[in-house]
Structure formats: C-alpha cells, structure tokens
C-alpha cells in the first residue's frame, strides 16, 4: 500500500446501525406477502422409533388448510444431509431424534396450521433410545442407522506417542465431558419461500449460508441451482446455528410453496427453535499428556467422542476441527488423536462459534494446569514453555511461518491481567476467607482461520462491486451479515480501495443471484474471504477509472490518487471529483464500471489417513485470563474480569473487534457456568429462556482487551479472523479459575452452582 489507511483500523459506524437500533430493519417475520400461507411442522413424539403410519386425512379438511405433505410428497429427493445423505427432509420409515419432521401443514393462518398439525395421527413402534455415546458404542447397541452408530472416525498421527510418553517425567490422563450449548440468537429461524412463474423459487431466509440453502432447495425440488434464488433477510444472529440448519425450514417452505403456488412463511417460536435447531456438540474428551522434567510436552494423546445426534449434518466437519487442533497452541512432538463421531438419539449437533474446539480446549487447558501442578510449575510457566512459535510444527505437522505471535499474545494477557501477582494474592485471600474463594485461570487457543483442508472445495469467495456514475458504490458479497459487522467491513474495504467516502458505499443484502458460491459465513473467514474479494473487484475498477482519469486530466495513472471521493495528484493538487470522473468514464468513455472479485487461498495438502498436512491457511492466537469469585454457600461463580489478548493481524474496525471479543467472552462465560440443556430420553426438558439460562448484562464481567497486530500477507490489509477465537478460550479460563479458587478439579461443563456445590459436598470439601 505505502499509503496511509483512511478507512481501516477506524471506529467507523456500522452501515446497518441505524436501521437496527430504530427498529426499521425488516426481519423475515416482518414480511407479509399477498396470499401468503403459514407453515407448521409435526415433529416426532419419540427420539427413536419405527414410523408405522401417518394419517393426515382429518388435518387436510380442517379450516384454512391448503396442503398437508409427508415424505412421499417431496417432488425431488427427500434428503437434506449436507455431507452424508442420511437425513430425510420428512421422516420415512424411522425417526432418530425428536426434531424429525413427520408432516408439514400450510394454512391461511398460523393458528389453522397449528390446529391441523394436532389433528395428524401417527403410529410409532418405539425403539430403545440411545442417550450417550458410550451406549451407542457398547456392543450390541441398537443401530440408529443401518451402517451402525459410528458415523465416521478421524485421527491424527504424529511420531510415536508411546515413545513420547516413555520420555515423560509426568503424565496426566483424564476424562472431560461437556454439555450442549444453544446459540440463543435473538431471532429464531425463519424463512419465506415464493414460487416463481418460471418454475423456480425465491427464498428469503434468516441464514448464514445462502448457498447451502440453494443446494438443499434445488435438491428437494429437483430443479436447477440457477432457478433457486436465496436472499438473506436481515438476520438476528447466527453463531453457527444458521450455517446448515436453515436449509431445513427453507426446504420445507419451498416444498409447500411449489405445492400450493403461494408464498409460504415458516417461522419458529423460541421453544421450537431451542428444541429443533442444532447445538454445540456434547463431547467426551479423554486427554492424556506427558511432559519432561522441564515441563516440555513430550507426548499428547486424546480420544474424542462426539455426540452427533441422529444425523451427520456438519458433525463430521465440526469434529475435524476438534481432531486437528485438539492440543491448542502447544508443541506436541509426538501426538495421537482418535475422533469418533457417533450417532445417538439426542439433540442434533452442529456448527457453533468455535466449531468443536471449545470442548477440546476445556479439556486441554485443564490438563495443562494439572500437569503444571504435577511438575511444581505455575500454570503460566508450563504454557510459556510449550507455546508454538514461528518455524514450529503443529500437531498435524504443518510448519508455522508467517504471523505467529503466540508467545507475544500470551505474555500480553499475563502482563495486562497481573496474573502472577493476583494468583499469589488470591491464594492468601483464600487462606482466611471461609465462604468466598477467588481464583484466576488461563485459557489458550490457536485457531485455524477459514475452512479445513478437507473442506477447501468450498473455500473461495466472490464479490460484485459497481461504481455508479455519481461516484457512489454498490457492493454485494457472498458472505452474510449476522450482526458481526461483515457488511461494514466489506464497505470499509471498498471505500479504502476506491477512495470513496464510506457513506457513499451501500452493501446489498446477500443474494445467490449476485455472486458465485462463496461458501458459508463461518470459520471466522468472512473478513478475510469477502474482504479480499471486495478488494479484488475494487482494484479492477480502480485500474479502469484511473486509466480514464489519465486521459481526462492528462496525468499519468500512477500519479493519481483517489481519496474520499476526490481525484488528487500525488502532491495533493485536486484534479476533480470521483463523481465527475465516474460519470465521464461511464457516459463518454464507456468503461465497464462493474467488477466481479474473487479470492481463494492457495490449495492445502492433507493426508486423511494420518491426519497430516496443512489443516488451515493461517492461524491466530487467543489468550484469556479469567478472575472469578466462588461463593461456597451457593456454589455460585461470579466472573469478575476477563483479560482477552488476541492476535488479529490488522484491525479493520476497532469497535467491531471489541464487540466480537466481548460477545465471545460472554458466550464463553455462559458455556462455562450456566447454559445447561437437560434431556430425558432424547427430549429437551428446558426449551425456553426461563430455564435455559444465558448470561444477562448483569452477568457480564469486565472485559479487558489487548490487540496484537502482526499483519498476515493473505489477509485484507493484513487482517485475520476474530469471530470464534474470542469465545474458544473463555470457558476454559473460567473453569480453570473456578478449579483453582476451590481447590478441586472440575471435569464437566457447565459449572452451574449446583454442580459446584454438590461436587464439593461429595468430595467432602465443604465442612
């Protein structure tokens, strides 16, 4: 660049701020169309059963009912599985989880649809319900799918772990288990399907991945991708929960829209959303690590049992991230990972911010503390001795080269939080305090930005940028705006590259009609992928108009600069306005003022059998320190402060980055302390915000943020992703702090007051 950045590293106001805070933004449920019908679904009464019969006759003749459909009515393929074709859109033959749809009703009102759903009669033959991966894997367990209960098995093999353990001075081995986490986005799932005269369909959906919906709808309708237009409606949060899942309601609505010839709206209420949509996976993590007398890890071994629920969904990909990065930011000279993705009849596991790593991070970070205690080292010191640096190899034998500030980020978190001193202070405090105990804990993570090598067929993103004859700019990206600020970042990248004032850039709602399949908005990839694609398009446009400017002003193109809507000479002399230039370029010179941008990272190599290779294009580090107070009378934990040091490459928008980090920390605090879905025979017992508790503003700790900027050449202006790293270490840090406060190692999440108090009571630690 060489030039000063005007729109990067700023606190630019979000492009969608006003419409959202004033309530003008229109979400799916705000949209009403003439003749629109309402869809309601009948879901299974059992978590595991044979489906004997479905009788929809009574429902069909109910008032206001336009159509009732079951699996046999799906015009294309009755299949929704994104990765493996194991999930029918509408149950056929068998049900495998409570959220399996038996039938769909479209009626003139939601009430009529609901009444008709209740009139559908279904006969089941219940089968034994598998409620834990251990049960699913036990010999003789009932098979959920014909090919058994192990959906897939993955591994990483690095050197000889047995030799590594033989060289260890201390070894710790333990089992950790974590419960589900619900995304709890503000807006439940919702979509509208509109049948088009040409035989196609338009979908407006609250979603993260319009291209997934396009493929799913095309599949169930049996039509071309080109006839399925998916437009992302204003989306009230996703956090991964709207990666693959919205394909399900969208496909349902599409089937009924085609059947009735009318627009069909399918909006979930909170209880449905909580019970039906995907969750962060339950996992059982058996972690064994060994270190030499100096505390340097010699061997690391883990077995991961991932509870997928009844179908594959994204579980195989989610668990690939657990598999490839199970040991966090540490050097593992020898390592072995065995990951089993297992079917059960529990809730449907899926994508959730962090994608399989908060679970393994919780286990690994606890084990690091245990190992440190065994060796008489402080938790900080053992980490310091093992954190990966430039030139080191990851567990998957990938050499880290560019922008690897692991230790810098770590030391920044320690220094800023005053870790060592506080640890001593708290220890002294706990000596005399009977009920209130203080603790400080570390959570560390190294996150691979973008999609895993195994998913790189999806890794590429497009953008479409138009320069209008008045000098304003219209941007479309293949990524989506979920509240994280992607559209603002896209606008900043366009403004910076084209020298346009930010307020003259508009970002359109994402639509599959505008750009090429850009993959999903996940994996903390959108700033990098869509940002680079926007820059690519904007640079093409810039080249074309500079050429026009060169002719217009008689100044060589490389002497001309575009800045905030002005055309300037390098020395600052004003030549004209971008408006005038754009208009002349368009009207007189007939320059094409639209450009398609594209970005895809270099191909990665991956050996599936050994789990070796370049798992991710680049990595970023996230180091958090949590300070807690635990009340031994109630078991309640208060998180007082979280110091969050993050390696972000280059800040694009400071306010947005801080928002991401604060939000991620809070979700991590919820995961650590309170979010606790309860199940009975596969049925969710607390599908409401009355009993599934997430943090309120009064539960939010002070979040002290430190940003480490070491630009990465592949990022837009050097930026790396931040979406997920902000959450991943938080629960581990909090859990370590709680364990340290009360002198008892917790190996399950969440640490609800009840779990803390009852565990201590059972361990005889209370009286």
């Amino acid at each position: 660049m060489g030039e000063t950045l005007r729109n990067i590293g700023t606190r630019a106001r979000r492009v969608d701020a006003l419409e959202k805070v004033t309530g003008r933004a229109r979400y799916v449920d705000d949209l009403e169309l003439v003749g629109m019908l309402h869809l309601k679904a009948l879901t299974s009464a059992h978590a595991h059963a044979e489906l004997l019969s479905i009788d929809t006759r009574a429902a069909e003749s109910m008032p206001g009912v336009f159509a009732v459909v079951t699996g046999k009515d799906v015009p294309g393929e009755n299949q929704i599985g994104v990765q493996i074709a194991d999930q029918p859109l509408l149950a056929s033959g068998k049900v495998r989880q409570m959220s399996d749809r038996i039938a769909l009703v479209a009626a003139d009102t939601a009430e009529h649809a609901e009444a008709a759903v209740r009139a559908i009669k279904v006969e089941y033959r219940p089968l034994p319900v598998i409620t834990h991966t251990d049960e699913a894997l036990a010999p003789g367990a009932v098979k959920i799918h014909e090919n058994g209960n192990v959906m897939t098995k993955k591994q990483v093999i690095r050197g000889d772990v047995e030799q590594g353990f033989a060289a260890a001075a201390a070894i710790v081995e333990d089992v950790y288990e974590v419960n589900y986490q619900e995304h709890a986005y503000l807006e439940p799932n919702g979509c509208i399907a509109i049948p088009e005269p040409d035989g196609g369909v338009t979908i407006h959906a609250s979603a993260q991945a319009p291209f997934y919906i396009q493929k799913a709808v095309a599949r169930v309708l049996g039509v071309d991708y080109a006839r399925v237009r998916v437009i992302q409606a204003t989306t009230g949060g996703g956090f991964g929960g709207k990666e693959d899942y919205p394909s399900e309601p969208s496909a349902c609505a599409a089937v009924l829209a085609m059947r009735t010839g009318r627009p069909v709206k399918f909006v979930y209420d909170r209880a449905q959303d909580l019970a039906w949509s995907t969750k962060r996976h339950r996992m059982k993590v058996t972690n064994k690590i060994g270190a030499d007398g100096e505390g340097r890890i010699t061997a690391a071994q883990v077995r991961i049992d991932c509870d997928a629920g009844g179908y594959t969904g994204l579980s195989a990909i989610v668990s690939e991230r657990s598999n490839s990065t199970a040991f966090g930011p540490y050097r593992t000279p020898t390592a072995r990972v065995d990951t089993y993705v297992v079917y059960t009849n529990n809730l449907f596991g899926g994508a959730y911010r962090g994608f399989g790593t908060p679970q393994t991070t919780f286990a690994m970070e606890a084990q690091m503390d245990e190992l440190a205690a065994r060796l008489g080292l402080s938790p900080a010191e053992i980490r310091r001795r093992n954190i990966l640096g430039p030139g080191d190899e990851t567990t998957t034998c990938q050499k880290l080269t560019e922008s690897v500030p692991g230790i810098e980020t770590f030391e920044a978190a320690l220094a800023r939080s005053g870790y060592e001193q506080k640890r001593r202070e708290f220890e002294a405090f706990n000596q005399t305090s009977r009920w209130l105990k203080k603790g400080i804990g570390i959570g560390a993570c190294m996150y691979g930005g973008g999609l895993h090598a195994g998913g790189q067929f999806l890794e590429g993103s497009g953008a479409l940028v138009h320069l209008r004859p008045d000098g304003s700019v219209l941007v479309s990206i293949g990524g989506t705006e979920l509240g994280q600020g992607a559209f603002t970042v896209a606008a900043q990248c366009a403004a910076e590259t084209l020298g346009v004032a930010l307020e003259h850039v508009r970002v359109t709602p994402s639509s599959t009609d505008f750009v090429t399949d850009s993959g999903p908005t996940v994996a903390s990839r959108t700033t990098v992928m869509s940002g680079n694609a926007v820059i690519d398009a904007a640079r093409q446009l810039k080249g074309r108009i500079l050429e026009a400017a060169c002719e217009l002003y008689g100044v060589p193109a490389d002497e001309i600069e575009l800045r905030e809507g002005q055309v300037l000479k390098r020395d600052g002399t004003r030549l004209g306005s971008l408006k005038e230039l754009a208009n002349t370029a368009f009207a007189v010179k007939k320059v094409n003022l639209s450009a398609q941008g594209w970005y895809a990272p270099p191909r990665k190599t991956w050996d599936n059998a050994r789990g070796n290779g370049d798992a991710y294009s680049s990595y970023c580090f996230a180091m958090q320190v949590a300070e807690v107070e635990v009340d031994l009378r109630s078991g309640r934990t208060r998180v007082v402060r979280v110091t969050a040091a993050h390696d972000v490459g280059q800040v694009i928008n400071r306010t947005l980055i801080e928002g991401q980090i604060e939000g991620g920390v809070v979700q991590g605090v919820g995961y650590a302390l309170m979010e606790d879905l309860k199940l009975d025979q596969g049925r969710c017992l607390n599908p409401s915000f009355t009993d599934y508790l997430i943090p309120t503003t009064l539960d939010v700790p002070e979040v002290d943020i430190v940003l480490i900027e070491q630009p990465h050449s592949a990022g837009p202006f050097g930026a790396k992703g931040i979406g997920e790293p902000s959450l991943i270490p938080a629960a581990a840090a909090v859990a370590n702090a709680v364990s340290e406060a009360v002198g008892y190692r917790f190996r399950r999440l969440p640490l609800t007051p009840e779990r803390v108090l009852m565990s201590l009571e059972e361990a005889g630690k209370l009286r």
């Binding site: 009378r633 606790d676 943090p695 009840e754 009571e761």
Partner: protein, 287 residues
C-alpha cells in the same frame, strides 16, 4: 377459544365482573404471568378482568404500627418507596432481586401473590413480617395471614369472585431481617430456592423468629420447626450448627429442571446459617 378482556373502571366494577363470571373470570394486573399462560394455552378463564386502571389500589401507606400495600403496587415501587425499604429492607431486597427492570415495572405485588407460585419472591419476606392479605368481593371483605392464602401451585383460598385488594404488614422495628434468593445468574431468573428470616433479638437471645422459604414445598412455606427451634434460644454457634435438622424437618423440595432436592436443601440450610451468623454479628457489633 376467544377470551374477553374487560377493563374494570373501578373496584366495584371489577368485583361486579368477577361475581358475574365466577370461575370463568380472572383478574388481570400486570399480565407478566397471565399473558404467558394465555399464550401457552394454559389458561382456563374466559374473561380477563383488567384491573390495571384501578390506580386507587397502587399505594404504599404508612400507619403507626404497620405499612399498607395496595394490590396494584408494582414490584419496582417496593424498591424505590422510602417507607417500604426503610421498614422492610429484606422485602426491598427481594424486590431488587426480582426479574428485570421491565418486569418489575409491570408486575404487581397482588399478581405475584395471586399467581401462587412457590417461587414468588416477594412472599417469603412478607410471611416473616406477619403480613395479612385482604380480599374483597361483592359479598364483603376478609383477611388472613399470607402464609394461609396458598393451597398449592397456582391455587389460593380466594373464592372465584374475590380479589386481593391489599396487604397489611406489621412494622418490625429493630428486628434483624434477611432475604436471599438463589438462581444461576444475577437477574431475570426464577429462584431455585429462597430464604427469609425476621428475628426479634434481645441481646443475644432470640425472642421471636419468623422464617420462610421459597421453592421448598408446593406453596411458599412458613418454617415453623425452625421458628420454634430458634425462639427463646441463645444465638450462638451451637444453635447455628443445629438449625440444619430443623430446616430439613420443615422443607420438602422436589427434583426439577431448576435443581435437585439435595441442592435446594443445602441452599436453604446454608442461607439460614448465614442469616443467623449475620444476626449474631449485628448484635455483637451493636453491643
């Protein structure tokens, strides 16, 4: 099934409507409980008598020996009203720990009591103050101790045509008051359990003890064993150590999604011990 919502213009009108529709009618105050049940299809009533306009029933009045609270007094008012928070700090504490600002601004004391949840946070302190509830119908008025008002979850001793109009709360000058609510987060949480104590002390001797627990029985519970265990006794570590048995004798919590029986037992035992320690500390400080 259609539901009529009728706005009562004044108390007579409300009582008229309740008398007319009997078991089919329910008073509607802030609606923070009722509307949820209505939406969930768990409401038997056919007529909702909105009493929200009866502003005469929203008051906190100080008398020489007691404080009178109107049924429509909002939970938020219990926090801000100087008389209530001065005379009944534990009551004000319960109001502060209640829900969120939005719900406190709508939810009423009459509704909290009328809803008859074992988790109603304002009730245990009121039991310990010896509050009475005043009912009114076209047939006349009556009152009873608040702890006798509840029959079970969602069931009260009010007849279908009767409405709560207010509460009489005897002042407890100099008494040691305590309230603690337990939930998994700091706001907007239904109690896992709650505990309230009001102790009249004479030096280190407990002259009178009133104790109540939330979520420990089908109704907000007055803990009479704990009260008699404490009354007339010297407040010391020995007394505190022995309270556990009395608590377990009084309470019958159940296992549910919010917590196990064992956990609830531990919570109220710990809270009771904590309250007693606090009381001991306060008399020692005063001495």
């Amino acid at each position: 099934m259609a539901i009529d919502i009728v706005r009562a213009e004044n108390l007579e009108h409300a009582l008229e409507l309740l008398a007319r529709d009997g078991a089919q009618a329910r008073p509607l105050a802030g609606g923070t409980d009722l509307m949820l049940r209505l939406r969930a299809g768990r409401l038997a009533a056919r007529t909702l008598v909105s009493i929200a306009d009866l502003s005469d029933l929203a008051y906190v009045r100080e008398q020489a020996d007691r404080v009178e609270l109107g049924a429509l007094t909002r939970v938020a008012d219990l926090i801000t009203h100087p008389v209530y928070s001065r005379e009944f700090p534990a009551g004000a504490r319960a109001a502060r720990d209640f829900a969120s600002p939005q719900i406190r601004n709508r939810g009423t004391l009459g509704g909290n009591v009328g809803n008859a949840s074992p988790a109603a946070d304002n009730v245990p302190p009121l039991i310990t103050f010896g509050a009475t509830v005043t009912l009114q119908s076209k047939r006349g008025g009556r009152s009873m101790p608040i702890e006798d008002f509840f029959e079970g979850p969602g069931r009260t001793r009010a007849a279908p045509d009767e409405m709560i109009v207010g509460f009489q709360v005897p002042k407890r000058p100099g008494a040691f008051q305590f309230f603690a609510k337990f939930g998994s987060r700091n706001a907007n949480v239904i109690s896992i359990a709650s505990a309230a104590l009001c102790l009249r002390l004479d030096g280190e001797t407990v002259r009178e003890a009133r104790v109540a627990y939330g979520c420990c029985a089908p109704v907000p519970l007055r803990a009479r064993r704990v009260e008699s265990y404490l009354s007339g006794q010297r407040l010391d570590e020995r007394l505190i150590a022995g309270v556990r048995e009395a608590v377990l004798g009084d309470i019958k919590p159940i296992d549910d999604v919010r917590g196990s029986r064992r956990y609830k037992e531990l919570l109220v035992i710990n809270a009771t011990e904590d309250a007693l320690r606090g009381a001991l500390e306060s008399v020692r400080k005063a001495a």
